[in-house]
Symmetry: C2
Subunit: 404 residues, 2 copies
Amino acid sequence: MTGILAGLRIVEGSAFIAAPLGGMTLAQMGADVIRFDDVKGGLDNDRWPITDDGRSIYWAGLNKGKRSIAVDLRNPRGRELLTALITAPGEGAGIFTTNMPARGWLAYEELAKKRADLIALNIIGARDGSAHVDYTVNAITGFPMVTGPVDHEGPVNAVCPPWDLAAAYAGALSILAAERHRRMTGRGQKIVLPLQDVALATTSALGYIGEAVVNDVDRPRYGNEIFGTFGRDFRTKDGRFVMICIFSDRHVDALAAAGGFSEAFRKIEVETGVDLKSDAGRWNARRQLIAVIEPWVAAHDAAEVAAALKKAGALWAPYQTFRELAADKTNVAENPMFTLLDQPGIGRYPVAASPMQFGAVPRQPPQPAPLLGQHTDEILSGILGLPGHEIARLHDDKVIGGPR
Amino acid sequence: MTGILAGLRIVEGSAFIAAPLGGMTLAQMGADVIRFDDVKGGLDNDRWPITDDGRSIYWAGLNKGKRSIAVDLRNPRGRELLTALITAPGEGAGIFTTNMPARGWLAYEELAKKRADLIALNIIGARDGSAHVDYTVNAITGFPMVTGPVDHEGPVNAVCPPWDLAAAYAGALSILAAERHRRMTGRGQKIVLPLQDVALATTSALGYIGEAVVNDVDRPRYGNEIFGTFGRDFRTKDGRFVMICIFSDRHVDALAAAGGFSEAFRKIEVETGVDLKSDAGRWNARRQLIAVIEPWVAAHDAAEVAAALKKAGALWAPYQTFRELAADKTNVAENPMFTLLDQPGIGRYPVAASPMQFGAVPRQPPQPAPLLGQHTDEILSGILGLPGHEIARLHDDKVIGGPR
């Protein structure tokens, strides 16, 4: 049983989110993804959240299904081994992804000397090569100044890093595009993907730069409301929160049915002259809509609200904490994407496979993340053909790490 | 001059963000992406932000570089035309992406009758086919309960929709994976990508479910602080905000150099016993770090703070509004990714090309979004080979729309 990308091999030199998540995405699609790290572990080796005894749950989450090779990155012999691995022959091999500084021995030009058709993705922070991470890029986009409670002063940072996620998937996409190009032309190439430009291109795509220039406005904070249509949070009688949205005609009718609002909605249309079946109508009459919906939600427990909204087919969801999510049967335990997995050194918990369901190949169940250097020997032997005594000497000389 | 995906043709039936942005990503990489809409426009035709005269800046942002065909989607002849377009012959054709309900005439099984090797990506909301959008999916993930000011009660919604972005790029990736598979095996397939599962898989990857289960904690709100290392916003003397982070050894030294904190940082290490060069050390001593950095930022204007941080190579960024971003020379006007573009019906503003820089092909400058039905005639003539008089009759019969 193999995934859709069976036959591809990608060598990854990475840390943090964008590059590792991009690699993991390809690994969960069936590619052989080999992450290399220094024998002491990468920058993200101990990244939080960690277990009580200091093992990184973060690292385990972002490196599932990869093989790990640990090499002394300062040792010339170690660098030689990795160069050989990155540029090893094979139709589906010769693909490198990194967010490390791609200079010196890791520069494209150096690596391409050993394999002319190499594909190398270089995820960088700023366009000019200076440091930028999701949290600094996000400050520049403008989103923190419109996120959070209406009366809040100053920025509100994202906890979920949107630009790392976008760059991870966009990076994986760029690798497949280059691999397609190589298949058709025989030529490899270097790809540069600045996190900063991923964020700016997306901010442009979402219309924020156009709005600022054409309408010459700074969109204010709208708190939890969805700009330009209807959606916001409501508090139930038992102190829970639900998100309720209207994105289409059907959602207006469903919400009306759930709460018995048909008459009230008609009254809003008559009194304000808006059409609730249009985005603009819902947005312009949002205060009136809230005045109808809020008391109904506040008068019922979460379970009652949920039952009514669900039955009517409304567009809604309950808010929950991460612990509630983990215990949420529909979304986790009974979701075929999740498997209860033993992650060595960390514990047993539900872990997700790829969210993509390909008709031609069954979804591969998730695999644990490797231990640091877990596959050092099998990679050196299986791909580079190093004999056992040479591998043993490399261990003795501390050029490589991992169990022997 | 052609893009990396020249030769691919994708037909898109979409609305909102995930499917259109995925299609636009492929269009900006050089694929011929044809979006079809009902003659009256799709669900997102008037989506906000809009101009003073009601034209959607949102739509223009998410559909750049595509061709548009407008067809009466309820008319059997209109459906026949689109079926023929989706299943038209050609090695790089026969690819369909949609977030419309893929039932009836748009069901994979129906379309595949006309082209057995069809690739169809179906982006759905919930796994079970029920309605879910970014804002409802986000409620379930847990992120809104840890986002926003520490003293805030209740959820804080994301303004930037992380799951739509992830699904857009993941969807485009899944199409290239299936196209690769078709090239190798000759077989097409249906791909299902639930927005809900994209969000849950990513939440799993980022370690939140593992942390909740293994450590049995609900991570509290940490406001604008980056969990597990050092990063937060600071206010300057002139009332501006900057994000300052430390992600590595180098950033500790750079920040110390920028503010003259070397001695103070050493003192923190001595007094608290932490190592500021470790994530855990920075996180555990964050109150002490803030006590050193905050007064320095507060005593200087934004320009002075920026100059010092930049000179030292610290990991930082200024917060800005969307209007400030639009006027930000470094990030927009002088960024080669942006082009000042005339978007018909909307105006002239800077628009982004793809953030991906492929070494083998020059980056294609961004193209405007089409007007609704702008390419109806050329598509029917050029791809389906319809003669002029038949196209004219289809216009007369209101089966198709757009300029004639």
